[in-house]
Amino acid sequence: MLQFTRFRTAIILLICLAGALVALPNLFSKETLKSWPSFLPTKQMPLGLDLQGGAHLLLAMDQDEIKKDWLNNLRDESRKVLRDAKIGFAGIGAQGLSQLVIKLAKPEQRDAAMKALQKVRQPVGNALLGTGVYDVDISEGSDAGTIILKESDQGLRQRIANAASASIETINRRVNNLGTSESTIVRQGTDRILIQFPGLKDTKELKKLIGETAKLTFHEVHPSMSADEAKMTSIPTGYKIYPSDQSEGGGEYLLREQPVVQGADLADAQPGFDSRTGEPVINFRFNQIGARKFGNFTKDHVGRPFAIVLDDKVISAPVIREPILGGSGQISGNFTVEGTNTLAVQLRSGSLPTKLTIVEERTVGPSLGADSIADGKRAGIIGGVAVVALTILAYGTFGIFACIGLLVHLVLTVALMTLIGSTLTLPGIAGLVLGVAMAVDANVLIYERIREELRVGKMPVAAIDAGFRRAFVTIADSQLTTLACAIIMFWLGAGPIRGFAVTLTIGIMTSIFASVTVVRLLIANWLKAQPKGRVTTVPV
């Protein structure tokens, strides 16, 4: 146990050296690192949001809204397909949020209708494997002449996944306007999106940017009937009552549900000021398709009002004075300058597929982060000094070896964390310090064992050898159980806890090498260095 070949010694020293080299950049500031020669590593452990400050927002998508949108689309498509196939139907109604019931005019046309309706469904999943799963299940209803279109689980899952990736893209575009800092936006679970934004001081702007879906649509206003009249009698088919924005006076409008032009046809939107009144407005421009649609519409409706609707609320309903053929225009509402800035960004970056609600928010200001680092450093140094003092007091010269082992342990842990890019959090610092205290346990086990062997009268070298060998089983057992805990913490934990678990896991892995192998190498060398190779007393 106490023999080390030159080769093994070299490998051990090499590992320590490499570890020190990788860990080194963490001691310096980013500016200093820039001036380093290029062959030296300059990668640092990334700091968690709790240490460098920043925002963490967990958003939830509205699944019901996704389902509702999809059901609406499905209804429109089915209507079109049946019309094209010349199959008459009495009605298409939504049942809950997951299925449509189609009632045919002639029950005997059911088979033909079901065949035609196959066009509305789409295969889900791997196109290559062709699993034969569709996003819509088409089945016969229990009543004669009815057909049920029901969304399949796979279809729903895919739709939510699509909505999530579309949301992430849109958020990315919107957030890019906030600055250059590297934010990460990822999907979490099925219907959640996590935004992490290091260095962000104020979340107000961020929340405003993601707070609205910004679905902009242009609608035709009903030529003769007002919303109040429609409420009294009945709402004409294809029309719907829209509330207006508070600033518009809070009235209601009866608008055609199918929009003339949608926000997706916008090519640009910029904040600006009205040349006559000086109030803040949004200047927009359509793409070619949008410009043509809007041009045709305004040509046919001169002298009549149309409505600009944002997120299902009418923000203004101007009267068309002349055809707008150039494809650009102006939206005025009761905007503030700030409001037009945000809205312009939202319109430019496209609308979100669904409304997002903030379900969890954690923001740490940069000053608190800096304080936490300082506190962690101070506590770590004091704790470390306490461990070193106790160890040397209790184990003398061998205690010094143990402390060198602890240093190696710390360096290697930091090096590994740097290599895998694991984030250092505040609990992570605690884990690092605690890891040192637990690593020293290995040495305590070994040294207590050596003392025991000496007490029963073993010769020094034999006692040291037996101490290492006997204690090793125990060390391995105890480390493995702690490892089990750490892995569970990582698996279940979120955010800061995960950081702590990673630190703990790496600490366990390095502690066997540092506290056992390195210390054994030191002791073996110490034995060799004794005069004439004779050891009379063991300094433990």
């Binding site: 740490v364 609990p427 057992d477 806890i497």
Partner: protein
């Protein structure tokens, strides 16, 4: 070369090794005490309940720092209580210019939490800067609570499986009782003193599990070794010997852990004080439980006495086939 420069000196072997303290004599009272402590803890958690933090209860937490001078907490209290946000807790946090404001979960789902937060921000923005904001909505808090409990249960289960695999079922049973004791009593103390119980407390509990089982495994290893060495020794005597033999290690490791944790608790800052407190308590309780519960329980449960190499080999072989299967 370098080695010769090192001062050669012995450490202080402060621990009297021939004490042979009669732990097993106290196994009855100690066990009774532990069971009572566990029952009281369960009762405390059931009646008083744990003082859940924002993570588990939902609601908001805002840490504020005054722009100048000390915080006027009573003025702040008057101001925030006037906002109609239910019970608003305000306390000094670490230094006189730092304040921690806690809002309970607002009725009305996720949006209501954000609206409440905005009210607080607007009301305090003139005199204070925000250092930290945590808002956890009802959906997330119930999920986190669930994961927290699953994590602790899974931690105990994983450890017990390992101990069972490496030793015998009696050892595993001793470990599970000791670990449950540690978790329950720590939780009981948290409930009694109304310390905040949140995600970081769960992390601390998991670490305590790891630490406590460390102690238990060290003693168990020694018991197994002594079972091989002294085939005829009375079990109680043997357990007592094993505990005593490992006692110097138990205490020294405990002391280093406590030293570090104390340093972290005192100097580590306000944000993770709770975490460090849970760890401190847990290390004390965990050390107690491995000495007074895990090993003495074996005296009641009894263990296999034939630990000869032949028997060990057959166990190892069956373990291997188990692992392969």
């Amino acid at each position: 070369m370098l080695m010769r420069l090192l001062p050669v000196f012995k450490g202080v072997d402060f621990f009297p090794h021939d004490l042979n303290l009669p732990f097993m004599k106290f196994k009855g009272p100690a066990l009774a005490l532990s069971i009572v402590a566990m029952l009281i803890s369960i009762a405390l958690c059931a009646t008083l309940g744990l003082n859940y933090g924002v993570d588990f209860k939902g609601g908001s937490l805002v840490e504020l720092r005054t722009k100048s001078g000390n915080a006027d907490i009573s003025a702040l209290r008057d101001k925030l209580n006037g906002l109609g946000l239910g019970n608003v807790q305000i306390q000094e946090f670490g230094t006189p210019d730092d304040v921690l404001v806690r809002l309970e979960e607002q009725p009305g789902g996720e949006l209501a939490q954000q609206a409440a937060l905005k009210k607080v921000t607007d009301a305090t923005s003139s005199g204070y800067t925000e250092r930290r904001v945590e808002v956890v909505g009802p959906a997330v808090s119930s999920e986190l609570r669930m994961t927290g409990f699953i994590a602790v249960a899974a931690g105990i289960l994983a450890i017990v499986t390992y101990v069972w695999f490496r030793f015998e079922w009696q050892f595993a049973l001793g470990a599970v009782v000791a670990l449950s004791h540690d978790v329950l009593v720590t939780a009981g103390i948290f409930a009694f003193f109304r310390f905040e119980f949140d995600l970081s407390t769960v992390a601390a509990l998991l670490t305590i599990l790891g630490y406590s089982v460390n102690d238990t495994v060290v003693v168990s290893d020694r018991i197994r070794e002594n079972l091989r060495k002294f085939k005829k020794m009375d079990l109680n005597e043997l357990l007592n010997l094993s505990i005593n033999e490992t006692l110097s290690r138990t205490i020294l490791t405990g002391m280093t852990a406590l030293a570090v944790l104390l340093a972290l608790y005192i100097f580590g800052g306000e944000v993770i004080r709770n975490f460090n407190l849970a760890m401190l308590l847990g290390v004390l309780i965990g050390t107690y439980s491995s000495v007074f519960i895990a090993a003495p329980l074996l005296g009641y449960l009894g263990v296999k006495r034939d630990w000869s190499d032949a028997a060990a080999k057959s166990v190892a072989a069956s373990a291997k086939t188990k692992a392969k299967a």
